[in-house]
C-alpha cells in the first residue's frame, strides 16, 4: 500500500498550507482581476456599437473608432450612402462628449444625437427622447438621481429625462441620447454629422458593402461593425497593455515569493523526515518529486481559489458599482495559469536543492 506522503506532509501544518494557498491566490487574483477589469471596460466600450443595429459604420476618412474620437462628415454623406445598392438604411448621428448636470451632481457622457432616439436599442424604462428631452443610461440616471420626468442640463440647456437604457456605461463613461437636430442646434454645427450607421440588406455581406461605400463616397472610411469594435477595443487595450504586463510581473514576483516561502519553510521543517525516508531507501529523485508535488499542489489550490474569488468579485462588484464590470476571459485565465506554472517551477528551486543535498545519515545524529 502506498503512503500519500506529499499530501500528509502538506496537511501536517494546515495553517501554514492554507496561508500559502491564500497568498498564492492573492497574487494570481491580482493578475486575473486586473485583466478582468480592463476586459470589462473593453466590452462596455463597444456596447453601443454592438447593439446599434449597424452593419457598417461610416466615418470621416481615417477614423474607425468612437471613444475619444472626432469625426465630422457633411450631412449629405448620409443621403449619398443611402442610395448605394445594398444599403437598407443609413442613419446619421452626432456624437460628442458632454457633461450632464443635475444640481450639484455631474456625469460625463457620450451624447448621441439620433433622429431615431437611439433605436433599435431596447429601452429599459420610459420612452425615446423627443424635442427637449434626453434618454439616459440607467446607472447615470441613478447617480444623478434623475428619474424619468426630471430635468437635467447639458451645454447650458435644460432637458427632460424621457427614458432609460441599460448596459452601456463603463467606469470610464456613460451614454445619453437626444434628437440630432437638438444637438446640432446647441453645438452650432448645422449640416455636420459624426457618423452614419448603415444597415445592410440581407443579401449583402457587410465587408462588401463597406468596400462599396468607400468606393462610392469620397472622404469617408467605412468599417464593418466587427472591424470597428475591434479597433475600439485596441484603444483601451493599447493604453493599458504596459500596466497589465507590469501587474502580471508583480503578481508573478509575489506568487514566487509566497510559494517559495511556503515550500522552503515546509521543506526545512521536514528535512528530518526526508532524511528518514532517504535512510529507508527513498531515492533522491523520488524525494525531489515529493517536494515539487507539495509546491505544485499549493499553487494549484491557490489558482483554483483565485478563480473562485475573481468569479465572486465579478458577480458582486457590479451590484455595488454597476459600471465596474469584470469580464473573465479564457485567455486571461490561461495567462494566470502560465504565471502559476512559472511560479511553481521557480519556487521549487530552493527546497529542491535542500532535499537533494540531505544526508540520510543525518537522521541518526542528534
Amino acid at each position: 500500500m502506498s503512503v500519500p506522503l506529499a499530501r500528509r506532509q502538506l496537511l501536517f501544518r494546515k495553517g501554514r498550507a492554507l496561508a500559502g494557498i491564500a497568498g498564492i491566490a492573492a497574487a494570481l487574483l491580482l493578475v486575473l482581476a486586473l485583466n478582468a477589469i480592463f476586459a470589462g471596460i473593453n466590452d462596455r466600450l463597444t456596447a453601443y456599437i454592438d447593439r446599434s443595429g449597424a452593419d457598417v459604420i461610416v466615418a470621416q476618412q481615417g477614423v474607425d473608432t468612437m471613444h475619444m474620437t472626432q469625426s465630422a462628415l457633411a450631412e449629405q454623406t448620409a443621403t449619398a450612402v443611402a442610395v448605394i445598392p445594398g444599403v437598407a438604411q443609413a442613419r446619421p448621428i452626432l456624437y460628442v462628449p458632454a457633461m450632464i448636470e443635475r444640481g450639484e451632481k455631474r456625469g460625463i457622457v457620450y451624447l448621441i444625437g439620433d433622429d431615431s432616439g437611439g433605436a433599435p436599442l431596447p429601452i429599459a424604462a420610459g420612452r425615446r427622447p423627443g424635442l427637449g428631452e434626453i434618454m439616459l443610461e440607467r446607472t447615470l440616471a441613478e447617480r444623478l438621481a434623475a428619474p424619468i420626468g426630471s430635468r437635467v442640463r447639458a451645454f447650458g440647456q435644460s432637458f427632460r429625462v424621457s427614458g432609460e437604457v441599460e448596459g452601456l456605461a463603463s467606469i470610464l463613461n456613460s451614454v445619453a441620447f437626444v434628437r440630432r437636430q437638438e444637438l446640432e442646434r446647441v453645438l452650432g454645427s448645422a449640416g455636420v454629422v459624426s457618423y452614419v450607421l448603415v444597415r445592410a440588406q440581407p443579401t449583402i455581406h457587410s465587408p462588401d458593402l463597406a468596400a462599396r461605400i468607400e468606393a462610392s463616397v469620397p472622404g469617408v472610411t467605412a468599417s464593418t461593425r466587427e472591424v470597428f469594435a475591434r479597433s475600439e477595443r485596441r484603444v483601451v487595450g493599447d493604453m493599458t497593455t504596459d500596466i497589465v504586463r507590469a501587474m502580471i510581473l508583480v503578481g508573478f514576483v509575489i506568487g514566487v515569493a509566497v510559494a517559495g516561502l511556503v515550500a522552503y519553510s515546509a521543506t526545512l521543517s521536514q528535512l528530518r523526515d526526508y532524511a528518514v525516508l532517504r535512510a529507508l531507501g527513498l531515492r533522491a529523485r523520488r524525494a525531489l518529486t515529493l517536494a515539487v508535488a507539495q509546491i505544485g499542489a499549493t499553487v494549484a489550490a491557490g489558482f483554483v481559489l483565485a478563480l473562485v474569488l475573481v468569479w465572486t468579485l465579478a458577480a458582486l462588484l457590479p451590484r455595488l458599482s454597476p459600471t465596474l464590470v469584470l469580464a473573465i476571459r479564457a485567455g486571461d485565465v490561461a495567462t494566470a495559469l502560465i504565471v502559476a506554472g512559472a511560479v511553481t517551477l521557480v519556487a521549487a528551486a530552493l527546497p529542491v536543492l535542500r532535499v537533494a543535498r540531505v544526508d540520510p545519515a543525518s537522521v541518526f545524529r542528534r
Binding site: 477614423v63 475619444m68 469625426s71 457633461m99 460625463i108 447650458g156 515569493a257 516561502l261 522552503y264
Partner: protein, 372 residues
Amino acid sequence: MTARRRVPIARRQLAAEPAKLVVTLVAVAAAVALVLLLSGLRRGMGEQVTLYLDHQSPVLVGQEGARNFLSQTSVLPEALADEIERVPGVAEATPIGQQYAMLRLHRRPVLALLIGYDPGKPGGPWRLASGRAPTGRGELVLDRVLASEHGLEVGSTLEYRGAQLRIVGLSRGTSGFMTPLAFAPRTTVNDLSRQPGTANFFLVRPEPGIGAETLAARIDRTLPGVTALTRDELAANDRRQFIDPFSAPLFAMVAIAFAVAILVIGLAVYSSTAERSREYATLKALGLRRIALFQLVGVQAAALALGGTAVGIVLAAAAARGVSSLAPKYLIAISVGSVVAIATSALAMALVASFVPARLLARLDPASAFRR
C-alpha cells in the same frame, strides 16, 4: 536583566535562515512597491492630464455648462474674443481649439490631445526640442516622445481624418500617458472638424492685480452663454474626471497587496515560531514571561514589515526612475504622503501578522520542553 535584553533572540532567529528572510522581505517589498507604484501611477495620471492647462492663462472661458477642459464639448464663435476683451480686467482673450485626436500610427489607434492655436499667440507649445512652431495650414508640432515611439521626425507626414499633416517641430515636456500633446494652427483644426469660425475655449489673461477668481466671476456675470472658470478649477475637475474611475479598482488592488503582505509576514513569523516551539517552551520553563514572548514575535513581525517596506520603497523609487527614462509617457509620481502612509501601515501589517503566532505561544505548555 531579562533574557530578551541579553540575547538578541528575535534577530538571531530571523538571521538563522537567510534565504527565508530574503524571500519574505522580497514578498513584502513587492507588495509595498505594487501599492506605491499603483498610487503613484494614479497620481501621475492626474498630473499628466492637466499638463496643457498647467502652462496656460489663469482663466478660461468655454460654452455655458463647461466644467472640464477635457472629455467635454465646448463650441463658441471665435468672434467672442472681442467681447471677452471688453470685460474690465481682461488683458487678452485668445481663442484655442482642442480635441482628442485618435491618430493612426503603425496601423494602431494612438490618442493625442490636438491643440489648435493662432500662431504667434498664447496656447502653443511652450518648449520645442527641434524644428519650429507651426505657421501654415497642415503643419503640426508633435510631442517628442510620441514621435520617437513611432519613428516620426521633423519632415515626416502623418495622416489624420483624411488630411496630410506635416511635422515641422517636436515639443518637449508635452508627453502624457493618455494624452500626449500635438499642436496645429487653429484653422487646420477647425477645417478637420468642419467648424470654421469657432473656438473651443478662450485663454484669458487678466490685467495685473486682477485675481483669477474675481475675473472669472465677472466674465460669467457679464457675458451670456459662456462659463468662465479658473485654470485651477478646470484642472481639478479634469483630474477628478480621469482619476475617480480608477479609484475602485485601485483600492481593490491595494487591498489585495496589503493582504498578501500581511499573509507573508504572518507566514514567515508563524512558521519560525511553530518550528521553534520547543525552544520557546524551554524559555517559558526558564521563567520568560508571556509578554516577553509576545514581544519576541512582535519584534520579528515588525522587523520583517519595516524591512520589507523599506526595500519596497527603494524598489518603487528605482522603478519610477527606470520608467521615466525607459517609457517617459508614464509618470509615476510617488508622494511623500503615500510613503508615510505605507510605512505606518507596515506596523499595522506587523500587528495583524503576529496575531496567530502570538496565540500559538500563549497556548504553549512549558512542560512540553521536557517531553520527547
